[in-house]
Amino acid sequence: MAGNSENLLSIRDLKVEYSSGGKIINAVNGVTLDLPKGGALGLVGETGAGKTTIAKAILQILPDHATRSVTGEIFFEDRDLLKTPEEELQKIRGGDISMVFQDPMTALNPIMTVGDQIAEGIHLHQNKTKTEARQEAIRMLETVGISADRVDEYPYQFSGGMKQRVVIAIALACAPQLLIADEPTTALDVTIQAQVLDLIRNLKESQDTSLILITHDLGVVAEICDHVAVIYAGEVVERGTLEEIFDHPTHPYTVGLFGAIPELHKKVDRLSPIAGLPPDPTDLPQGCYFAPRCPRATKACAEKHPSVKHLGGTHYALCDQI
């Protein structure tokens, strides 16, 4: 099957298994996702749900020694990334797709000036001379709101929020078609988070970049995404547009997530947490992975794995009780 031409990225039935200490870790278990051109998709889920693994699978940067198998299809502009040879992937990585990591403190090379780090990618991917690349780097720094005279400074001279801006400048330097941002603001304070989110949103619009935003924070998703996929135990349990998910959360896990976060603008007496813990990825339950924690689970849920239900529009949920 070829990728839909309206979608920049289509993932079909992606499965990733790691092996560790003789055990098989089912990190991603059949993920299907679509990202329209120019869209912004939010991947929401808790620690260990497999969000980062999905991102790494797209870029094909899964750790070799621990990865046992990767199956499925990842179409990026009608090309299956899982079948693309390494040399071409290197052109895609950093050129067409780039990634922003969670921790700006470790994502930068401490002994290279920020200007050189931005210019490096431009030089490598766009066949530009060093001087041209440097000019471009200065322009990128200004785009992310850092003045040009700081181009020859080292990462330690920047604060956390500024570092994350530099990381974003590096990621966007080659005008990628797709930016994957893995928890880009988790390590930052709220006022700085607001600045960075604002920056990402503006750049996305001005450069027409598509975005995959990985986060555990539903609020951040609401800020910049137009599509949402909720990930639980390596599966997409619910996906749809922002309105579909936020106005009509349907899967019990999504409903649970909304109930568990304290809201700034309304005061509730008691939060309703989701009982229990996420399943052990080395030993997933037989039926629905969420059944042991689900308030609506029946006997059948624990035995049979649920199928995907279409709820109209682009709204899908993985549950048999709807």
Partner: protein, 317 residues
């Protein structure tokens, strides 16, 4: 009655670049049985303030009163007694438990040290604490590395509650946890407060959490208090420009009622040898020459204190 009264408390640290004014002239009270939310960004001195109040750090200047009694410089004997009444729950459940002690050992340690219990009572008391904090009995002999974040935090809570304290400083107790676990821990803390008439000081950077759990809120910026009032009042009528920006910066899940965002320029600086005057002035959209004058917390409307010389103009009062 106020259980904790803090007056002009200061905590300075020497550093190679000058004196760090981590907590600089802070005054507030915490009523018995209530929760004071202490909000601010990293580096604003909120954790230092919490630790200074419970005497994990020694204060530089000022007065700390507990139950009406001046306990700023306690005697050794008094300090022991104080520590049984004032406890702390830490942010990181991964580093606040000794990796070589079992759940049982960790919870029993404060009981043992208090020397109030016989051996048989120790076991019973520790079991009671585990029940209270919702830790399964089968985990008694487990080590911290075998537990998930939520359970570890429960162990930390059980340890803090073991001596039956009156006052607990919660230092970002849920910020390292996932949302679904976070809600479990918040509910547990609220239930415990109800059952045991606890007084909390809840230190956090997460305003949504603080709104949920606190009755009063203090907002800190660079070692100073910029605004304090009752929770609902503060959230409905924030008056200090920093509080306003902080509130507007929080991403909300309400996708239909977007409020206009106030973007602050720059970032928080470090409180080393600060100049007199408003410390927020460098990032404040309303700052002018007047802001270089020292300004203190003053009551703007009943019970609502703000430290800003332009508060009247900004809020049309």
């Amino acid at each position: 009655m106020a259980l904790i009264e803090i007056e002009h408390l200061k905590k300075y640290f020497p550093s190679s670049r000058g004196t760090v004014h981590a907590v600089d002239d802070v005054t507030f009270n915490i009523e018995e049985g209530s929760t004071m939310g202490l909000v601010g960004e990293s580096g604003c001195g909120k954790s230092t303030l919490g630790r200074t109040i419970i005497h994990l750090l020694e204060s530089t200047d000022g007065v700390i009163r507990f139950n009406g009694e001046d306990v700023t410089h306690p005697s050794k004997h008094k300090l022991r007694e104080l520590r049984e009444n004032m406890q702390i729950i830490f942010q990181d459940p991964y580093s606040s438990l000794n990796p070589r002690m079992t759940v049982m050992d960790t919870i029993m340690e404060p009981l043992k040290l208090s020397k109030k219990f016989s051996k048989a009572e120790l076991q019973k008391e520790a079991d009671k604490m585990m029940d209270l904090a919702g830790i399964e009995k089968r985990l008694r002999m487990s080590y911290p590395h075998e537990l998930d974040g939520g359970r570890r935090q429960r162990v930390g809570i059980a340890r803090a509650l073991a001596l039956n304290p009156k006052f607990i400083v919660c230092d970002e107790p849920v910020s390292a946890l996932d949302v679904s676990i976070q809600a479990q821990i918040l509910n547990l803390l609220m239930d415990l407060q109800h059952e045991r008439k606890l007084t909390y000081m809840f230190v956090t950077h997460d305003l949504s959490v603080v709104r949920h759990i606190s009755s009063h809120i203090c907002v800190m910026y660079l070692g100073q208090m910029v605004e304090t009032s009752e929770t609902d009042e503060l959230f409905e009528r924030p008056m200090h420009p920093y509080t306003k920006a902080l509130l507007s910066a929080i991403p909300t899940t309400d996708i239909h009622n977007r409020t206009e965002r106030i973007l602050l320029k720059g970032e928080i600086t470090s409180p080393i040898n600060p100049k007199p005057g408003c410390r927020f002035a460098a990032r404040c959209p309303y700052a002018d020459e007047q802001c270089a004058q020292p300004v203190g917390l003053h009551e703007v409307t009943p019970g609502h204190f703000v430290s800003c010389c332009h508060v009247k103009e900004i809020n049309d009062l």
